[in-house]
């Protein structure tokens, strides 16, 4: 199963929100959608959900125009909210029915999901009597109640304590393993790194970067080395003297950052350190974090990352 967005544009009056989005998301994986506030993520999600019609371009499922009825869809909007004055089970059944389930199937699924999240006893309570974190878990149940094949999660873990977050993470992981197509939008980069192999970064209505996180990290200049050692000071002094290998050496926080003259000098440096008998804890090529990649892609200050990502 492959969901594709082809040349999607959307304007709201003068405001050009999406300027030609091309994306391909395969099932059985979690796809991270990143972007700063107002980048057009929600608009893009709403176009997939058929709430908005794109001005041009189309959404395809396995090459055919996508209609919402073709898949069971689960959506966790960033703006949380359900019916505060209704009981938990009542509204879960309703949302299950809207997603296409029969009432009894919806009830069964709701109860088993509640049970898994340790919320079985809340079924008969009014939503507004629950804590904020628990309300969020109920919303999660509503998203997953119909065993969706396409899941869109907008900031799924915000406002949750680590234990609750873990419970929900397990559910998301299961979804991916079951072959669902998971769209994941978040500002919490650690979650994106954990769940998503592929990401797309949306900025100013365009996709500015897209691909596998690992490749993005590897795809930059690999001539910066970080060495950790109990003997950082002596090590720094030694490497500074090797001008044929190191262009620049910095000592910070129990680690030495070494800028090699060329990437190919890496084995030479490694064997030199070993020959000198330095007690090396770790020897690694510096890789940008996802946060670094995100900031670099979404701000105009290009080149903030030494070694250059652009």
């Amino acid at each position: 199963m492959l969901l594709e967005l082809k040349g999607i544009t959307k304007n709201f009056g003068e405001n050009r929100v999406l300027r030609g989005i091309d994306l391909a998301v395969p099932s059985g994986s979690a796809f991270g959608l990143l972007g700063r506030n107002g980048a057009g993520k929600t608009t893009m999600i709403r176009i997939v959900m058929e709430v908005f019609r794109p001005d041009s371009g189309q959404v395809l499922l396995d090459g055919k125009p996508f209609r919402r009825g073709m898949l069971r869809v689960g959506y966790l909007p960033e703006e949380r909210g359900m019916y505060p004055k209704k009981t938990v089970i009542e509204q879960l059944i309703y949302f299950g029915e809207l997603a296409g389930l029969k009432a009894d199937a919806a009830k069964r699924n709701a109860l088993s999901l509640l049970e898994r999240l340790g919320m079985g006893e809340t079924a008969g309570k009014k939503l507004m009597t629950l804590s904020k974190g628990n309300q969020q878990k109920i919303q999660f149940v509503a998203t997953l109640i119909a065993e969706p094949e396409l899941v869109v999660l907008d900031e799924p873990f915000s406002g949750l304590d680590p234990v609750n977050a873990m419970l929900l993470e397990d559910l998301v992981r299961e979804l991916v393993e079951r072959g669902s197509l998971v769209f994941f939008s978040s500002h919490q980069m650690n979650y994106i790194e954990e769940f998503c192999h592929e990401i797309a970064i949306l900025n100013g209505g365009n996709i500015v970067r897209e691909g596998k996180i690992a490749e993005m990290k590897r795809g930059h200049d690999r001539s910066r080395i970080i060495v950790r050692s109990p003997q950082v000071e002596q090590l720094a002094v030694f490497v500074r003297s090797q001008t044929g290998i190191a262009r620049d050496v910095n000592l910070e926080d129990e680690a030495v950052t070494i800028q090699l003259t060329t990437q190919e000098k890496k084995p030479e440096l490694l064997s030199m350190l070993a020959a000198r008998g330095f007690d090396v804890d770790s020897f690694a090529v510096w890789e940008p974090s996802l946060q670094d990649i995100f900031v670099d892609a979404t701000t105009s200050r290009h080149g903030t990352l030494e070694g250059g990502l652009a």
């Binding site: 709201f12 009056g13 709403r46 959900m49 709430v51 908005f52 019609r53 919402r68 009825g69 869809v73 959506y75 909007p77 703006e79 949380r80 909210g81 359900m82 019916y83 505060p84 209704k86 309703y94 949302f95 029915e97 809207l98 997603a99 296409g100 009432a103 919303q139 509503a142």
Partner: protein
């Protein structure tokens, strides 16, 4: 996907029917109708209301004759030589039961002064046997004492006249107390007193459309302000959401109405013969009115649909419950004006006017206007058919427009848009 309407309809129906205010008003009014009609003693009417003149439902039914037992009367015939003031005073005292009726041959001003000073309650100043001035301190709206006095004065004049012609007292009395028995037939109405229940049904149509429309609007706003709309709008088509809500609330409303009618019917039955004489009420419940009952339901359903689509659209434009009243105002005003124009057409009897005729074809006004014309037998079958066709066409058009507004409105947060902005938004979509 295909079957979303049904769960939405069921959800809205149950939500409305289970809400506490709804249950409360349902029971309260059902009880009021049942007790009010079934046990009239309870609301303080111990005697069956008497209709003057048999079948004619008198307008004066509720007005009580004045008791003159504590009143004082003065009569002056100073400027009317052929009036026997003393015998008139005796007659009035006897006939109307004044505490005191005496002759005071003063000038008009003197009589007025004595009423002003309170020494007399009524003063009559005659200029000829049939021309006189009546002084009294105040005349209330329902005070019919001047007419009672006038009637007695006239009766005295006639009795005297008859006696002069040689009739005995008894003969004169017999002439004067003779009564006709009249049966009124209005050829253009269906033999009932239509005005009575037209008032009731028009008011019922207006109030229910207003209330249920308001429920639709506020329930949309609640979904928006709780942000449940974010989920709903991605889970279901806006059209299904809107129609499901309008029909769900309307269904609950119709059930409420039916329950009220049943309660009223039960009360009417329980009262036995009590209301039989009051045609405004009995004609609502006695047989032969199924046609009107059917029209009541038809116009309730159609009128409700037309307006609640608009109420739903208005609700979708508002993000906070506090803003709802203001945004609903134009629509509420339209309904109120419509109601009063219709209502006054019955009171001032212009139901057959061009205004009402035109209104009975315009979709927004026809639910009340055409209903009035039907009740008064002023509409021919083809007119009724045309009006209904136009109304249904209007509902379809308004429903489509409302769905378009709704689609745009539910995702707007913040201040409700101005009409011009709204037109732009709807076009853009």
């Amino acid at each position: 996907m295909k079957n979303q309407f049904l769960p939405i309809f069921r959800h809205e129906f149950i939500t409305t029917a289970k809400s506490k205010p709804f249950i409360f008003t349902t029971l309260l009014f059902a009880l009021a109708f049942f007790v009010g009609l079934g046990f009239p003693d309870f609301i303080g009417r111990s005697d069956s209301p008497k209709s003057a003149g048999g079948d004619v439902n008198s307008f004066f039914e509720g007005i009580v004759l004045v008791d003159f037992g504590s009143k004082k009367l003065l009569i002056s015939a100073r400027d009317a030589k052929d009036v026997d003031a003393q015998s008139l005073a005796d007659y009035l005292k006897e006939d109307l039961g004044f505490e005191e009726a005496s002759v005071f041959q003063g000038a008009a001003q003197e009589l007025e002064d004595s009423v002003l000073a309170g020494t007399a309650d009524y003063a009559l100043y005659f200029t000829s046997p049939l021309e006189y001035t009546l002084y009294m301190s105040q005349v209330g709206v329902t005070d019919i004492s001047p007419y009672q006095i006038d009637e007695a004065v006239l009766a005295k004049y006639r009795t005297d006249g008859l006696k002069k012609l040689g009739a005995t007292d008894e003969q004169a009395q017999a002439f004067l107390t003779a009564q006709t028995t009249m049966k009124l037939v209005a050829t253009k109405s269906d033999g009932n007193d239509s005005a009575g229940y037209t008032y009731i049904l028009i008011a019922l149509l207006f109030i229910t459309i207003m209330i249920y429309g308001g429920i639709v609007a506020s329930s949309v706003v609640t979904e928006k302000s709780s942000r449940a709309m974010e989920l709903l709008i991605t889970a279901a088509k806006p059209g299904a959401l809107m129609f499901g809500k309008v029909l769900g609330v309307g269904g609950a409303g119709l059930c409420q109405l039916c329950l009220w009618v049943l309660a009223a019917f039960g009360g009417y039955r329980a009262s036995g013969e009590y209301w039989k004489e009051t045609s405004a009420i009995s004609s609502l419940f006695e047989g032969g009115n199924t046609r009107l009952l059917a029209y009541t339901i038809i116009f309730f359903v159609l009128g409700y649909l037309l307006y609640s689509f608009l109420f739903g659209a208005v609700g979708s434009l508002v993000s906070r419950t506090e803003d709802l009243q203001g945004t609903m105002m134009p629509l509420s005003l339209l309904l109120i004006v419509l109601f009063y124009v219709s209502y006054f057409s019955i009171i001032f009897n212009y139901t057959n006017s061009t205004l009402i005729k035109v209104m009975s074809f315009v979709p927004f006004t026809s639910p009340l206007a055409m209903f009035i014309r039907i009740v008064n037998n002023l509409a021919s079958p083809w007119e009724i058919a045309l009006s209904l066709v136009l109304l249904v066409a209007g509902i379809i058009a308004v429903g489509a427009l409302a769905a378009a507004i709704y689609r745009v409105g539910v995702l707007l947060y913040g201040k409700p848009p101005k009409i011009r902005e709204l037109v732009k938004l709807v076009r853009r979509r």
